[in-house]
C-alpha cells in the first residue's frame, strides 16, 4: 500500500510538472498571467484517472487465475442472424421516423462505416498502417466533382470511374512502399495524404484551390420517357435526404458484404498470414507484395466509392474536408471497434459520429479523447470493443492455453 502511495505521489508530481507551465501560462501580447483554476481542475482529473486505472489493474491482477479472456463480445451473445436482421430492419425504417438532421447524421455514419470497413481491409486484415486513407476518399470525391461539373458525367457512371482512379492511386503509392516493411508505409501514406491536400489547395486551374468546386449534381434517377423525339431518358435528381440515405445504405451494405466475403476468402486468409508473419507467409507460397498491393487497392476502392457519394451528397467539395484528422478519425473507428471486426466497426462509426453531435459542448475535446482512447485501447484492450473472434484468440490464446493446462 505504501509503495502504491509513493507511486501515486510520483505520478502526480510528474503530471504537475508537465501540466503547470502548459496549462497555467497565459501569454498575450507582451503580457504574462498565470491561471491556477484550470490547472487544479485538470490535476483533479489526472488523480481520478490514475486511481481508476490503478483499481482496474488491481482487480484484473486479482482475477488473473479465473480470468480467461474478455469473454464473448456482444456480437457473439446475440445470435448473428437475429442481430443482423434487427440491424437491417432499423436501418431500413430509420428515415421514416427521423427528422432531416438525424437523417444527415445517419448518412455520415454510413459514409464512415464504408470508410472504416475499407480501411479495415488494410489495417485490420493485412496489418498495414495507412495514415493517408482520406486521400483516396478525396480522389473519389474530386473525380466525381470534376467529371460532373466539366463533362456532366452522371453519378452512377462516375462511381466506377472514381473507384478505378482511386485504385490506380493506391497502386501508384503502394507499389514502392509495400516492398518495404510495414512501418515505412505509415509515414509514406501520411506524406501522400498531405501531398494530395496540398495539390488540391494549390492547383487552382483544376481544383479551384481552397474555394472548392461548387455546383455538383446529386445522384439522378433515370427512367424512360416518351417524347416527340421518341423514347428518351428522363431524370430527377435525388436531393432529398431520405433518398440519399438509402443510397448511402446500399454503399455501406455493399462494403459490409464485400469485406465479409474478402475476410472469409482465400485472399483474406493470405492477408491474415501476412499480418502475423510476413516471412512465414512468403515461405508458404503467398505472393506477399501482390497480396499487400491488393489489400491497399481494395481499401482505396471503398474509399473512392464513399468519396464520390460524399461529393454527390454535399454537392460541394473543398480541400479542408480531407485533412489528416479525418484519416485519424477513420483509423480511430477501426481501432476502437476492433481490427477485423465488422460489427465492431459499425458500432464505433456510429459512436464516433453520433457522440460529438450529442455532446456539442465538448466538441473541442473530441480529438483529445480519441487520441487518448487509441493509446488506452492498444495498452488495455487491443482487440477492440467488439473483437473479431480470430483476433481475440490470437491476442489471448496464451492465457487460454495456460488456463487449460492449469485445469488439466
Amino acid at each position: 500500500m505504501r509503495k502504491e502511495l509513493v507511486k501515486f505521489a510520483v505520478v502526480m508530481l510528474w503530471a504537475f510538472g508537465l501540466l503547470f507551465p502548459m496549462l497555467g501560462a497565459q501569454i498575450g501580447f507582451e503580457t504574462f498571467t498565470f491561471e491556477w483554476s484550470r490547472l487544479v481542475r485538470v490535476m483533479g482529473f489526472v488523480a481520478v484517472a490514475y486511481g481508476a486505472l490503478a483499481a482496474q489493474r488491481a482487480v484484473s491482477a486479482h482475477r488473473k487465475r479465473g480470468h480467461r479472456d474478455p469473454g464473448p463480445g456482444l456480437a457473439e451473445r446475440v445470435p448473428p442472424l437475429w442481430g443482423w436482421g434487427i440491424l437491417a430492419a432499423v436501418a431500413l425504417a430509420f428515415p421514416w421516423f427521423a427528422d432531416n438532421y438525424a437523417r444527415d447524421v445517419a448518412i455520415n455514419v454510413l459514409i464512415y462505416v464504408a470508410l472504416g470497413l475499407g480501411l479495415n481491409i488494410v489495417v485490420g486484415l493485412a496489418g498495414l498502417l495507412d495514415l493517408g486513407y482520406i486521400a483516396f476518399y478525396a480522389v473519389g470525391a474530386y473525380t466525381y466533382a470534376l467529371l460532373n461539373t466539366h463533362f456532366g458525367v452522371p453519378f452512377w457512371l462516375a462511381l466506377p470511374i472514381g473507384c478505378v482512379i482511386s485504385a490506380g492511386a493506391g497502386a501508384f503509392i503502394g507499389y514502392p512502399t509495400l516492398k518495404m516493411r510495414g512501418d515505412y508505409l505509415a509515414i509514406v501514406t501520411l506524406g501522400f495524404g498531405e501531398i494530395i491536400r496540398i495539390v488540391l489547395n494549390n492547383w487552382d486551374r483544376v481544383t479551384e484551390g481552397p474555394n472548392g468546386i461548387l455546383g455538383i449534381k446529386a445522384p439522378g434517377l433515370y427512367y424512360p420517357k416518351l417524347t416527340e423525339a421518341g423514347l428518351t431518358l428522363g431524370h430527377v435528381y435525388l436531393k432529398n435526404l431520405t433518398c440519399l440515405y438509402y443510397i448511402a445504405l446500399v454503399i455501406a451494405v455493399v462494403t459490409i458484404i464485400g469485406v465479409y466475403r474478402l475476410d472469409h476468402s482465400r485472399v483474406g486468409r493470405a492477408w491474415v498470414s501476412i499480418r502475423e508473419d510476413e516471412t512465414a507467409a512468403e515461405l508458404t507460397g503467398i505472393d506477399t507484395l501482390r497480396m499487400k498491393l491488393l489489400a491497399y487497392m481494395l481499401g482505396a476502392i471503398f474509399a473512392g466509392l464513399a468519396g464520390a457519394f460524399y461529393a454527390a451528397k454535399v454537392r460541394y467539395v473543398n480541400p479542408s474536408s480531407f485533412v489528416f484528422l479525418e484519416s485519424a478519425l477513420v483509423l480511430c473507428i477501426v481501432v476502437l471497434g476492433g481490427m477485423g471486426s465488422i460489427p465492431g466497426i459499425i458500432l464505433a462509426a456510429a459512436a464516433i459520429i453520433v457522440l460529438p453531435e450529442v455532446f456539442r459542448d465538448l466538441e473541442l475535446y473530441r480529438m483529445l479523447a480519441f487520441g487518448g482512447a487509441m493509446t488506452l485501447m492498444m495498452v488495455y484492450r487491443p482487440e477492440g470493443l467488439i473483437p473479431a473472434r480470430r483476433r481475440r484468440l490470437e491476442l489471448h490464446a496464451r492465457e487460454a492455453f495456460a488456463e487449460e493446462e492449469g485445469n488439466a
Binding site: A15, M22, A25, T31, F32, D183, I198, M374, M378
Partner: protein, 304 residues
C-alpha cells in the same frame, strides 16, 4: 549567385533544425524499431516552453536586461521539460507494449501524437504564440551578398554543438556504449547486464532533448509557435532519417541538411506553395531506388 548563396544560408539553417529532429527519430527507431509519431509534438512542446519562459522573463522585465541569459534559460527549461515529457510518454504508451505487435505500438504512438497536439491546443489556444524576437533579430552581416542574421548563426552553431555532444555521448561514454549494444542486440546486451528499459528511456530522453532545442530554434527563427507545428516538420525529419539511412546518426544529420536544402531551393526556384511536397517526393524516391538510405551500408558502425 547572390540568391543562390542566400538560399544556401537559409537551407543550412533549416537543415540544422531538421537534422536535430531527425536524430531523435533515428535513435528511437534504431533501438526499438518504432516510428515515434509523438516526436513532432515533443518538438512543438519545446517551442511552447521556450515562448512561455521568454514571455515570463519579459513580463518581469528581466529579458531586456539579460537577453542572453533569457535565451539560455529558454533552451534549458525546454530541454528539461521535454525530457520529462519523453519519460512520461515512454512509460504510458510504449513500455506496456514492449512485446506487442508493431502495429499496436505504431497506433499507440499515433494516439499519443494526436493527444499531445490537441492537448497543447486546449492548453495554449489555436492561435500562434509570438516569440519576443525583436530582442534578438537585430544583428546581421553579409557574406558575398547573402544576408546572414545572428539568429541563423546561433541556430547553426547551437545545432552543431548539440550534435558534437551527442556524438561524444554515444561513442565515448558507458551509457552510449549501452545504447549501441541494446540497438544491436537487445537480448544479448541484457544478458551482459545492460538494463534495456533504462537504456530505451535514455534514448527517448536524448532524442527529445534535441527536439526541444529544435523547437526553441524554430520559434526564434520564424517568430512564433503553434500547436500543430510539429506535424509537417515531423514527417520531413522522418524523411530525412530514412534518406540518411534509418538508425544511423551521421545519416540523420546529412539527411536533415539535404531535406532542408532541397526545400529551400525548391521553394526559391520552383514553386513555393509546393515546398512541403518535395520532402515527401524525396522520401518516395529513396524508398524506390535506395531503401537503405545514403549511409545505410555501414549500419553496424554508428548505429544507435
Amino acid at each position: 549567385m547572390e540568391t543562390f548563396l542566400q538560399q544556401m544560408v537559409n537551407g543550412l539553417t533549416l537543415g540544422a533544425v531538421y537534422a536535430l529532429i531527425a536524430l531523435g527519430y533515428t535513435m528511437v527507431y534504431g533501438i526499438i524499431q518504432l516510428i515515434n509519431f509523438a516526436h513532432g509534438e515533443i518538438f512543438a512542446a519545446g517551442g511552447y516552453i521556450g515562448v512561455i519562459t521568454l514571455s515570463f522573463l519579459q513580463s518581469r522585465g528581466v529579458l531586456e536586461a539579460h537577453p542572453t541569459l533569457g535565451l539560455v534559460l529558454a533552451f534549458a527549461l525546454a530541454m528539461v521539460y521535454c525530457a520529462f515529457l519523453a519519460v512520461a510518454l515512454e512509460r504510458m504508451a510504449y513500455r506496456p507494449l514492449r512485446d506487442a505487435s508493431r502495429l499496436s505500438l505504431l497506433l499507440s504512438a499515433l494516439g499519443m501524437s494526436i493527444f499531445f497536439s490537441n492537448g497543447m491546443m486546449l492548453c495554449q489556444g489555436v492561435y500562434d504564440k509570438a516569440y519576443p524576437i525583436q530582442l534578438y533579430s537585430t544583428g546581421q552581416f553579409t557574406v558575398g551578398g547573402a544576408v546572414v542574421s545572428y539568429i541563423q548563426v546561433y541556430i547553426f552553431v547551437g545545432a552543431l554543438i548539440l550534435m558534437i555532444g551527442l556524438n561524444l555521448f554515444v561513442n565515448r561514454t558507458r551509457l552510449g556504449k549501452a545504447m549501441r549494444a541494446t540497438a544491436q542486440d537487445k537480448v544479448m546486451s541484457a544478458l551482459l547486464g545492460i538494463n534495456a528499459n533504462r537504456t530505451i528511456t535514455i534514448t527517448f530522453v536524448i532524442g527529445s532533448v534535441l527536439a526541444a532545442a529544435a523547437g526553441v530554434m524554430v520559434g526564434l527563427y520564424y517568430g512564433s509557435v503553434r500547436f500543430d507545428m510539429g506535424f509537417i516538420p515531423g514527417i520531413k525529419a522522418f524523411a530525412a532519417a530514412v534518406l540518411g539511412g534509418i538508425g544511423n546518426l551521421t545519416g540523420a544529420v546529412l539527411g536533415g541538411m539535404i531535406i532542408g536544402m532541397v526545400e529551400v531551393f525548391a521553394a526559391g526556384y520552383l514553386a513555393s506553395e509546393y515546398k512541403d511536397v518535395f520532402a515527401f517526393i524525396i522520401l518516395i524516391l529513396v524508398l524506390y531506388f535506395r531503401p537503405t538510405g545514403i549511409m545505410g551500408e555501414q549500419v553496424d558502425d554508428t548505429r544507435v
